[in-house]
Symmetry: D2
Subunit: 307 residues, 4 copies
């Protein structure tokens, strides 16, 4: 298969959707992004990366960071994490507080906002917010093999200033005793983690170990244990796109995680990782042109975990 042609065809096939959808507007720094950006990158086992469009331009990863943060929290506290957060699809929008009330402050899964806030708390442990942020950043730099990855401080500040709903979720969780650290410190980890900027190339490369049972196929690093990698993939498939997760699994058939910055990360178990980016979002908060690029890829390749 000519993978370079694949990414170029995927990009051109989605060209008609360039600029479509709504750019996330709740913080000024995200709203200012050029809605016509489109990029795609595929990272493979042998270290090669195939790219098209704006695949080297860093964008705000937002909720995609939840995948890597989950890995780190599991490394810290192991299965105890599941005492604090569930692993079921929520069937609700990303910031819903309804289930949180019914389920007494235990978020449905680690890939919705409330769950990711609990994950941040578990990465912190008894340490500082700054140490937790540094750990997340170092993990991503290591995995992407690129020390230039950084937090977009403007976005981080905007996130905090505009983060009324996330602040409400965090205080709600804390009211049920489900945060070990002070709410504002946990939020400072969460907001900065969301504000990390990475390119499609960096994201696909960083996630490669999830396609190979936890071992980075290029460096040979045992990043995480085998069943943990599989379970992260499982959570991405069932819960990676909020109340759009079932539809994404139905259409794309691969574990993935979307972010309101317009990025989507997808794992092709045994083969590699794909990242797409385009800022315009559909009603469920998933990149519109990004999803079309992924549909083009799976249609051409037949990639799916279901066959």
């Amino acid at each position: 298969m000519d993978l370079q042609k694949l990414v170029e065809d995927a990009l051109s096939g989605a060209e008609v959707y360039r600029g479509h959808g709504d750019v996330a507007s709740y913080i000024p720094a995200l709203a200012a992004v050029d809605p016509r950006k489109m990029g795609i990158a595929i990272a493979c086992k042998d270290g090669s990366t195939y790219r098209a469009g704006d695949a080297d331009e860093p964008f705000s990863v937002q909720s995609i960071s939840k995948v890597f943060a989950l890995n780190l929290a599991l490394d810290h506290v192991g299965a105890q994490l599941w005492n604090h957060v569930g692993r079921e699809p929520s069937g609700s929008p990303f910031n819903s507080i309804v289930q949180l009330e019914q389920e007494k402050g235990k978020p449905r899964n680690p890939l919705i906002n409330a769950g990711a806030i609990v994950v941040s708390d578990n990465i912190m442990g008894h340490g500082t917010a700054d140490a937790a942020v540094a750990e997340i950043l170092e993990f991503l730099r290591d995995r992407a093999g690129d020390d230039s990855i950084a937090i977009d401080e403007n976005v981080a500040i905007s996130e905090s200033q505009a983060g009324f709903l996330n602040r409400s979720l965090a205080y709600f969780v804390s009211a049920f005793g489900n945060l070990k650290n002070p709410v504002e410190e946990v939020l400072s980890v969460y907001f900065r983690q969301c504000a990390i900027a990475m390119s499609c190339r960096q994201l696909a490369r960083a996630a490669l170990y999830l396609a190979f049972d936890g071992t980075d196929p290029i460096t040979g690093d045992a990043v995480t244990i085998s069943h943990r990698a599989r379970r992260i993939n499982s959570l991405m498939l069932t819960c990676g796109h909020y109340d759009n997760s079932g539809d994404f699994a139905f259409r794309i058939g691969l574990p993935g995680k979307s972010g309101v910055g317009g990025g989507i990360l997808v794992i092709v178990p045994g083969f590699g990782a794909i990242s797409v980016w385009s800022p315009g979002l559909n009603a469920a908060g998933t990149s519109l042109a990004g999803a079309v690029m992924l549909e083009n890829v799976v249609e051409r390749t037949g990639w799916s975990v279901f066959v």
Copy 2:
């Protein structure tokens, strides 16, 4: 791999759970089943079937029938089915009516009760209830290659008599104009479909085509088109176990569907199909010892769609 040893080890490994859990009690015919029954069967590409325990004893398939009914409804009306039923996990118990109110009579997915009632309606089309039931039965006999498969009429009658909640769901859906046929006729299809009795061997054999992109690997029959088979697998993975679907994907990592009769059907894409049976259920209505047998199998084989 010695598959005969695999099924025997899976059975003996779950021995400690024999008789554990609660047998479904809402209808007398189900409550009367011996809770100590346990069986497992694996059907493979070449036609061989490996069995242990009570793998040849027919049991009430209950909700497992929803998988095959979904296939038939898609064959009848194609993608129009998705105008009448969604494809998202519900995040709610199997008989919840709450989302049905919020979502104006459109059930979340075809694998919860309300959704399966809509599926029954779409199989009926302009025909009779009896014809729809005959079609479902014929499909299963064809797929299992076994004309002895039949409806347990006692169970069917009990289902109807005790089916207050399902009746409530059906009238609710109908109130929003989402049933084409009279409620009681649609229910008569649904109740009889749930009352079909099959053994683990028959179920695993019947589902084999779902592991091979829609084509039965033994007969060569093109049962359904490729992407339809994949999408049915996808729905099984995200929605096959009600509000326990995420946990099942997390632990087992394969598309599956459970029934309150104690059966579970699991697809191993590219390899085959597994069916287990044990009547005792966990709190989410999934077979307790059945899930343990499946965990034993995936632990020994490494089977998972996520690697």
Copy 3:
């Protein structure tokens, strides 16, 4: 106070709303009513009745019948009724099924549909549906002193044929064991009770005893015990208008009950009873011009339980 002028002024003051709002359309018999009808009647302690507009034309009382049915059920089973139905405002639309699921088949109060179905069951007791309907009808004829009051059989049949939601509610309640009689028999009481036709004059006269602590001031009949009459008034005030009850209490300040036939019944404790009728409804299912007539009355008279 010139009460004849009062009712005439109330009518003319609401003239601008004549024909406004939406006539209930879920059954043909209700949809066929002339939307321009408007009537008002006030019944007083001394037997005099003041009327304006279409005050003598019978209309479908619909949910207003729930007030009298509640009285009868309390006479049958006393405080045991509160084991089967609550007495809290629902905060939800009249036919919501959500709370019914959360509260395990015990409706919030006897003035929403599900609660009134439970009330019908308690009037039936061990008797027949026909006997229960006859009892309700006899009660209303006695109280109104008018044997011509009857059920509109066309409406009753339409109610049953179109009653998907009410049927769903009844089966749902029954699934939790909260109906003593077969669902369809209970519904046949409920549907016929809703289809009783009465005029404003008849309704105001029939309810007079509720303004005088349970004793009919004209006949001297002790219709019900003192605290029961007060408590029925209390339930009308807190729960009489579904999710519009708070607003009605805020604007009108008197116990009342509305029906989707466009009637509203209001109690003026110590003074008398008012009934208005106009078929056009607001979004909450309360008569639009009817509520305006009542506002005119309370503005002119200062009647309110809150002063």
Copy 4:
């Protein structure tokens, strides 16, 4: 009627419940109150006050302050307040966030926590939090004719430190743009308002104007306009006790407001005001012995708005 005997009999009649129920424990300052305290006071038109038990001991008024704050906010912004907060019973516990999500940040009514936070914001207007608190305190001192009324600063600090849920509610409301002032400033008004300490005597005296259409019958002050007083009474009746409001109206039949400090304030339109206090609460957060004292009073006097 011998009102002194009435209050003494009410107290002794509730003696068996002395110390029963659970004292609010979410902040240390409330948990430390002696659970065996019981007091009752009735304030009458002519300025006389009848008292029994601990009627002169100040306690934390908590949510009872919401009644007076509502009056002040209406004086500030008039009917525009209803753009920011509804007037329907919530049918939910006092701190529920579910409806707030469904209704996009507009609380159901001003007597639940989220609604009272919106009321605090409207009292602040363009001023400072300190000025708003001073205004509330001055209003209560004026109405009670007692300049010694003060905020219990220990309680206020505890409220803020333990106020995770209220903070969550406030940020949630703010996320929908429904607060004009910074969240923490609004909360500082709300927490201090709840921490005001008053005795039964002071509370009954302060609320007397609500029983006389807005005019203080002793000083002759026109405290608020007639229809505003009536409507505050109406809101107390339909919404004054969270998801226990219907039951309270059913049993007591008078407008009232309870607080988790164990106080209850009740209005007897045209006659006077009653305040009771006993720290032990029932499951809905209403004073257990306090409600019994009120039942004793209404049973002996026949006071009720429904007759």
